[in-house]
């Protein structure tokens, strides 16, 4: 019944829990005492500066972030689907190519890919005019595809084999069964991890600054950096941060709801915030 301290198991658990709260409060108090609040308020919560960010932070920066993300996601998802099907193909060279691609792009920082696209494409295709949007779409999509391919592959493999057998027994070809029966079910399973991927791409779109931009092409992060220097205040960073959260938090909630609905956990191939 009683340990050496004379406390029962349940009492000890209670003491432990209370000590956690005490520790938390202590950390907050120390932080609050040591921080220079006046300085923080001046730097981050300057309402005049904040007000001056509007409407451009929405009409230009937020809009561009969303456009770049959607373009990158659409391209990445299509390429990812192709890579996933190659990975599962009975043709060995397809499998090798896909594996090499996935390992290559998962192993590189997205930053490098942006630099490579930014300098490489103009060199390689001198005569064709590739717009900035397309370059961003390529860079975001190439990286995103590597992660999404693995997610999609896992989703396809999670669809029970009996589904394909039933489809084949009704006369559907392998390809038809894949398109009408397997892929729709796979996407239901992987909606939560795909939503996470969209969040990651939203954040990665901040690398678009590496491709240079005019004012009208700025996305959130670059808009924030620019305002930071011209206003000599950290407030624009706060405004921009909130704009990111306006996109990412609803997506995160959506992802969690989908996860509950379809009951698929642990299929993310890179963690949010990683």
């Amino acid at each position: 019944m009683s340990g050496k301290s004379g406390l029962s198991k349940r009492q000890r658990a209670k003491v432990f829990r209370i000590s956690q709260y005490v520790l938390l409060v202590a950390v907050v108090v120390v932080f609050a005492i040591t921080a220079d609040w006046a300085e923080i308020r001046r730097a981050f919560f300057d309402f005049d500066v904040a007000a001056q960010q509007f409407p451009n932070v929405i009409t230009i920066a937020l809009k561009n972030t969303i456009i770049y993300t959607v373009l990158g996601f659409a391209f990445g998802l299509s390429l990812g689907l192709i890579l996933a099907l190659m990975r599962l193909s009975s043709v060995a060279p397809y499998r090798w190519l896909s594996t090499i691609y996935i390992e290559f792009f998962r192993g590189l920082p997205a930053l490098l890919v942006f630099i490579a696209i930014g300098t490489g494409i103009p060199l390689a295709f001198k005569d064709t005019h590739i717009t900035r949007e397309v370059s961003i779409m390529l860079a975001l999509g190439l990286v995103g595809a590597a992660y999404m391919a693995e997610t999609i592959r896992a989703g396809i493999q999670a669809v029970p084999k009996g589904q394909v057998e039933a489809a084949r027994s009704l006369g559907m070809s392998q390809g038809r069964a894949m398109i009408t029966i397997v892929i729709p079910q796979a996407f239901r399973i992987i909606l939560p991890p795909l939503t996470n991927e969209l969040i990651l791409l939203t954040k990665d779109s901040s690398l678009a600054y590496l491709l240079g931009s005019t004012l009208a092409e700025q996305e959130l992060a670059q808009f924030g950096r620019q305002a930071l220097t011209s206003f000599k205040s950290l407030t624009p960073v706060l405004v921009v941060g909130l704009c990111y959260l306006i996109i990412t938090i609803p997506l995160s909630l959506l992802s969690r709801r989908l996860e509950n609905k379809f009951g698929s956990g642990g299929m993310t191939t890179r963690g949010v915030g990683g």
Binding site: E165, R168, L170, G171, M172, T180, Q185
Partner: protein, 252 residues
């Protein structure tokens, strides 16, 4: 006697070194109901799956309705539309409504119009007594209802032959009767059926012929009365003893 619709000769199937079917000969005539019984692992499912080439035979010949499926030039997708299959685990398309389960292959494979496909689908749903479930999803149905939908789905392709692989083995006992009832009706309507089953009562009453398989061979075949009622082979006798009275014949 009507003409043969399934002709299997010298059928062999091996999975790597494991020989599962070691030379099966079987002829099924139009309208015949053949039940296949035998111990687990004897190759019953494999044999059935060779009839629509879900498994590719390693030897022998399978001819269905005059088309040799084992011929390399055979359009197997086309041939499969004439052979319906019902699985132990139902395998309804989980993302589609009951009605769409019944129409999707009609439309994508047979090229029927939406209207025609739905008409055929509703006819077959009525046949299995589930007209009111057309808009449900498979997850909302009981196992017995799912299996009846699976039968209606196969029938919607207007097959010449129906294959059943232990269609009631995954069902709660009180739901078995509904499915067997639908199968009995189908047999009465003259459908050619190949049924792997452990329902001896059903086999006795419905089957024109019973096959007992063991170790990759057809050990005994004949009218149900004979194979189940008065088996000649010792292996058949001991199998039936275990199935019909499992409590007293464990390990017999």
């Amino acid at each position: 006697m009507t003409e043969p619709i399934i002709e299997i000769t010298g059928l062999c199937k091996a999975f790597g070194p494991l020989e599962v079917l070691k030379g099966i000969d079987l002829t099924v005539r139009r309208g015949e109901v053949v039940c296949i019984i035998g111990p687990s692992g004897s190759g019953k499912s494999t044999m059935l799956r060779c009839v629509n080439l879900l498994e590719e035979p390693t030897g022998g010949k399978v001819v269905v309705d005059g088309v040799e499926l084992t011929d390399e030039d055979c359009d197997i997708d086309r041939a499969r539309t004439r052979v319906g299959m019902v699985f132990q685990g139902f395998n309804l398309f989980a993302h589609l409504s009951v009605l769409d389960n019944l129409t999707i292959a009609q439309r994508k494979v047979l090229g029927r119009s939406k209207g025609e496909a739905e008409m055929v689908a509703r006819e077959n749903l009525a046949k299995v007594g589930l007209s009111e479930k057309a808009e449900s999803t498979p997850g909302q149905l009981s196992g017995g209802q799912q299996q009846r939908v699976a039968i209606a789905r196969a029938l919607s392709m207007n097959p010449e032959v129906m294959l059943f692989d232990e269609p009631t083995s995954a069902l709660d006992p009180e739901l078995v009767g509904d499915v067997l009832g639908v199968m009995r009706q189908l047999a009465d309507d003259g459908m050619t059926m190949l049924v792997v089953t452990h329902e001896m009562q059903f086999a006795r009453e419905v089957a024109d012929r019973v096959l007992f398989m063991d170790g990759g061979y057809v050990v005994e075949e004949g009218p149900a009365e004979q194979v189940i009622g008065a088996p000649r082979e010792e292996r058949t006798r001991s199998f039936l003893a275990r199935v019909l009275d499992p409590v007293h014949n464990a390990g017999a």
